[in-house]
């Protein structure tokens, strides 16, 4: 549903202008019941070409491997069956959202429905489809991860595929499009100045960096969330709550409360991506010691208490 938030142009204009015709979407198409079953038959008979097969949601294998926790209604068959049947005939297969990509929140806890991603089970390659599955253009399942996923990530992936401009090297190690996965959520985070000095918020609603106490792992999470805005101007960190790494496999079970940073002997566990531990510790203690009063005070306030000092131009 995040797709409906696409803007400039809207989702329907974007798809139409890119020459992408939707064969069927469960929430948006007019076809229901027998009309859909007839369409599925025609695809199976090869009468209708299936260029892009987009799957949302993890696929249930339970109970006991039957897939009957998730039936495609009216067909008497499971979604598990349908994805396995349709995927080989699709030109490209796209897992939309972290559930379809890796299992995601649907597999949280002890995974009650024995759900799995399309080509991954958590961080392990090999989900509903085999590790060596490749589409007709020799690409693996493309994981447009995120919980939610950004409408721009979905539409740009589809447009790149339609234009024939998407290749194996455009995917990262978890088969996520690199155009968003080469960035970290940390990039452009509005709390960057607080991060520089490790000026930390102690509780939600305070303005400081949320890495030290409040579970934020934006320095490890991939996504251009703070570079391209969500819903006009937003992101998790601009909204005042931590990044929980929702583009990553197994983010649903962090082994600690989502909004609390795990610590050993008072020191947060988890380093920023590519940062050597000793340097991080050294720089963190140095920058903490150097924190200006303005930043220290604002970090533990719910609004700017001290504005930046004005500097007059030299005469």
């Amino acid at each position: 549903m995040s797709l409906l938030c696409a803007e400039n142009p809207n989702v329907f204009d974007t798809l139409e202008d890119a020459g992408i015709r939707v064969l069927w979407h469960p929430a948006l198409s007019v076809e229901t019941g027998t009309e859909v079953r007839a369409l599925l038959d025609r695809i199976m008979q090869g009468e209708v070409a299936l260029d892009l097969l987009c799957i949302e949601g993890a696929i249930a294998r339970g109970p006991r491997g039957t897939g009957r926790y998730q039936m495609l209604t009216g067909t008497g068959r499971s979604m598990m069956h349908w994805v396995q049947t349709l995927a080989p005939s699709a030109r490209h297969v796209i897992a939309v959202g972290s559930c379809a990509a890796f299992g995601g929140v649907t597999t949280a806890g002890d995974n009650p429905s024995d759900a799995v991603g399309i080509q991954y089970e958590g961080s392990h390659i090999g989900g509903l489809l085999a590790p060596d599955f490749r589409d007709r253009a020799d690409l693996p399942v493309i994981n447009v991860a995120g919980c939610p996923t950004h409408p721009g990530w979905v539409l740009e992936t589809l447009m790149l595929l339609k234009a024939g401009a998407f290749h194996a090297q455009d995917l990262d190690g978890y088969a996520r499009p690199r155009f968003f996965a080469d960035h970290l959520v940390h990039h452009g985070c509005p709390k960057n100045e607080f991060y520089e000095y490790k000026a930390s918020a102690r509780d939600l609603s305070e303005m400081g960096c949320m890495m030290e106490h409040l579970g934020c792992i934006g320095t490890q999470a991939v996504g251009d969330c703070n570079i391209r805005p969500w819903n006009g101007s937003g992101s998790c960190t601009s909204g005042g709550y931590p990044c929980i790494n929702c583009t990553a496999p197994e983010f649903e079970n962090p082994r600690h409360a989502f909004s609390q940073t795990p610590k050993i002997a008072g020191i947060p566990v988890g380093l920023p991506t590519d940062m050597p531990k000793a340097w991080f510790m050294a720089l963190a203690s140095l920058s903490k010691a150097a924190t200006p009063e303005r930043i220290a005070r604002n970090a533990i306030s719910d609004r700017v208490e001290i504005p930046p000092t004005l500097r007059k131009p030299r005469p």
Partner: protein
């Protein structure tokens, strides 16, 4: 006598998966069974986790009622913690929630419900050409205008909730972000822009004129805007008499602010308003693929029957209030809140026209409520209070999602979630039969629907099902 059985699925333009089994006699539905075909087990995932994780996990039940789940979880946690939001935090949470609800109503009207009237079966009606132009699925000019208006209104969520869906901004003590005075202006500007869309496209007139309607007859005389197109179709197809309700409605009360509600809490039965006997809620599992007995959600269990044995025919439990099924949603809220139009619609049968008409009424009224909430924002105030999690406690969070009454029942033991039970709006509306064999509200509303010769996916059935605006992913969760 001519009888047939039909299975309708995949059921499109509802959120999530739905299958409807019909018995048809002499061109009329004589019996219906509703199957919610997906089980994921969210309640079970929460067991053993830090209670605060409910704020992250439960919104992800659904990509369309996400903020409603978040609001219910925050209320349940706050109740367990003995913590109330600050007044301004409560107002902002209400505004954030209202934005989602009104967007859901818009999505329902333009993208889910109205495209059926563009079908060739209705060719020849004097409204059909205009409906084709405005509401053809994914192509209509109205559909496109509506997604743009919706996306722009959601800028309020980008600003105050980080993003939509799946925000963590709503907390037991209020909201995580404090708005500045200039941001209050941006919120007001977004709302004025949304009002322009509503008055230009949806109603074709000032909202206040629509809200002033008192009777079903005056509603059917409304011919301006996209609402007018629906009402012309409703009059010619007699949607007032299609999919009648049973006259029992439930609302947990929407947008609580300092012990008052934007839309009142209550129960409607026998033509009068009552208090809700919250202790008399039971989730019957006799016809669900669930093990156990009918108990109150505070003591509820979610144990799927892996054998999927009869007489079970759905993963959905059957909630009952004082032993009876009740309907919830915009119509229920507006009836219980006492709006004369909604009361007249219910008195005249509470069918498809009533459900959709009340949703339109609620769009208009919610816009005014949002404008008041935004005006009342005080950027100098405190937007969130802090509290501690108890090691042992119980909490209940009752809110109104777009689709109706949503409840979370939480028990904390040794600092962890020991039990978490959820009853979603469509759990009420699309429940299967109970132990007494009494069908759920949709099952009852479908009886009597006309099936035209040759129809295997009857249009009347589609109109009735969609008039409830079901959210199937929330239903079983």
């Amino acid at each position: 006598m001519n009888s047939a059985k039909l299975v309708v699925g995949p059921f499109n333009r509802v959120e999530g998966d739905l299958e409807v089994h019909l018995e048809v006699k002499d061109g009329v539905v004589s019996s219906a069974r509703v199957n919610a075909p997906q089980y994921r087990g969210f309640e079970r995932m929460l067991e053993g986790r830090d209670p605060r994780d409910a704020l992250t996990i439960t919104p992800r039940i659904c990509g369309i009622c996400s903020i409603s789940q978040s609001a219910a979880a925050a209320r349940a946690l706050g109740h367990a913690m003995g913590l109330r939001p600050t007044p301004q935090g409560e107002g902002m949470a209400a505004l954030i929630h209202a934005v989602e609800n009104v967007c859901d109503h818009l999505t329902h009207f333009y993208l889910f419900f109205m495209p059926d009237f563009a079908r060739p079966a209705y060719h020849g009606h004097d409204w059909h050409d205009a409906v084709l132009q405005r509401f053809t699925a994914m192509e209509g000019s109205g559909a496109r205008a509506a997604v743009e208006a919706r996306a722009s209104l959601m800028h309020i969520l980008g600003l105050m909730a980080g993003k939509w869906p799946h925000t963590l901004a709503i907390q037991p003590g209020g909201v995580t972000r404090t708005p500045a005075a200039a941001e209050r202006m941006r919120i007001l500007a977004s709302l004025r822009s949304f009002r322009r869309f509503l008055e230009r496209d949806l109603f074709g007139a000032p909202l206040e004129m629509f809200i002033a309607l008192q009777t079903q007859d005056s509603l059917l005389d409304w011919h301006s805007g996209d609402a007018g197109l629906f009402l012309r179709a409703a009059a010619s197809l007699d949607l007032a008499q299609m999919g009648l309700g049973a006259g029992r409605y439930l609302s947990f009360g929407a947008y609580p602010i300092e012990a008052r509600f934007g839309f009142a809490r209550g129960m409607w039965q026998d033509g009068t308003r009552h208090d809700i006997a919250l202790g008399a809620i039971r989730e019957d599992v006799s016809h669900a693929w669930m093990l156990g007995t009918a108990v109150h959600p505070a003591h509820g269990l979610t144990e799927p029957d892996e054998e999927m044995r009869a007489p079970g025919y759905s993963w959905c439990k059957a909630p009952r209030l004082s032993g009876l099924p009740v309907e919830c949603g915009a119509l229920a809220r507006q009836v219980i809140d006492g709006h004369p139009l909604a009361r007249d619609l219910v008195a005249k049968g509470g069918g498809v026209l009533a459900r959709v008409g009340a949703r339109l009424l609620e769009v208009a009224r919610t816009q005014i409520l949002m404008e008041e909430l935004a005006q009342a924002i005080d950027p100098t105030a405190l937007f969130m209070s802090q509290g501690d999690l108890p090691a042992q406690a119980e909490g209940v969070g009752l809110v109104e999602a777009a689709r109706g009454a949503l409840g979370h029942w939480l028990r904390i033991d040794e600092g962890q979630i020991a039990s978490y039970q959820i009853i979603a709006p469509t759990t009420w509306n699309f429940s299967p039969r109970d132990a007494a064999g009494v069908p759920g509200p949709l099952e009852a509303a479908l009886v009597g629907a006309t099936v035209m010769p040759g129809e295997d996916t009857p249009l009347s059935v589609q109109h009735i099902v969609r008039s409830f605006d079901p959210c199937m992913v929330c239903t079983v969760h």
